[in-house]
Symmetry: C2
DNA sequence: AATAATTATATCGTGCACGATGCAAATCCC
DNA sequence: GGGATTTGCATCGTGCACGATATAATTATT
């Protein structure tokens, strides 16, 4: 029953983040999306979706809500008018300052040490790659 | 960014199970719920929710759909008339025969060996317990 | 150049997941 | 025994996640 652990852990993580994020007016998936833009700004919807292993039909309304909050902007790509480039607004970028505290708080809550966290990441990545390609 | 791995792995697992489950007319959360009843029949809604770390507001409509499919039955507990006991129907119990094949297929797809799977389970359980109590 | 196939994104319908709220039954406390 | 509190479950509104479908722009083919 390996599915059970991931299923419940995912919900527990979501619920642990939520109180910190609601202070910022964010949901957990919205926060994860912003972290990708903090890493690299001005991405296509498809690029973001691929990193999250999600479909654009999930991402489009989520991005619309981030845009309504004034955290991102949607610009047409002049080279390919089909594409929509997602860019951080100044407010969206400023929110990055809050991230380290939240991450530290979460890592602390896991009660896992550095080696365990690293091993967990490795196992999850291997599992995801394996299942996604099978 | 430990949150990212769990977030995406959870979706990958869900998506890997889905084609096997749609053949049975089930969704992934419905399947997980049934596995708990295969382990132990006649459970309260709250008991099931606690094992899944979910709220009853999520479980109630899910159970209603399982009932509509004729896989479970809802009986009043004579001792405590607030409680609703969830019981497997014959059809719901018969579905258990399909489970081993699906599990084997999934475990195979992860490309993790027995020791890695066991370690993953341990780490996820420790993380869940830590975060849930912090 | 005209048509066909592909790609990027959006829209719609279903189902999960949560918090807030409501209600009835049980329990507590006096 | 009787009122306050707790417990078990349901309902409602919001947001995520998916597949199916639609539309427009690009690219490939003839």
């Amino acid at each position: 029953m390996f599915c059970y652990g991931i299923y419940t852990a995912s919900h527990v993580v979501n619920r642990a983040y939520t109180p910190h994020l609601t202070r910022l007016g964010l949901t957990y998936p919205q926060y994860i999306t912003l972290t990708l833009l903090w890493e690299r700004d001005a991405q296509m919807v498809t690029e973001i979706a691929a990193q999250l292993r999600m479909t654009t039909s999930t991402l489009t309304p989520l991005l619309k809500r981030l845009e309504t909050q004034g955290l991102i902007e949607r610009c047409q790509d002049t080279r390919d008018r089909r594409s929509v480039l997602i860019r951080l607004s100044p407010r969206g970028r400023a929110l990055q300052n809050e991230a380290p505290d939240i991450t530290a708080c979460m890592v602390d809550g896991t009660t896992l040490d550095g080696a365990e966290l690293h091993e967990l990441q490795r196992l999850l990545a291997k599992l995801s790659d394996g299942l996604a390609s099978s």
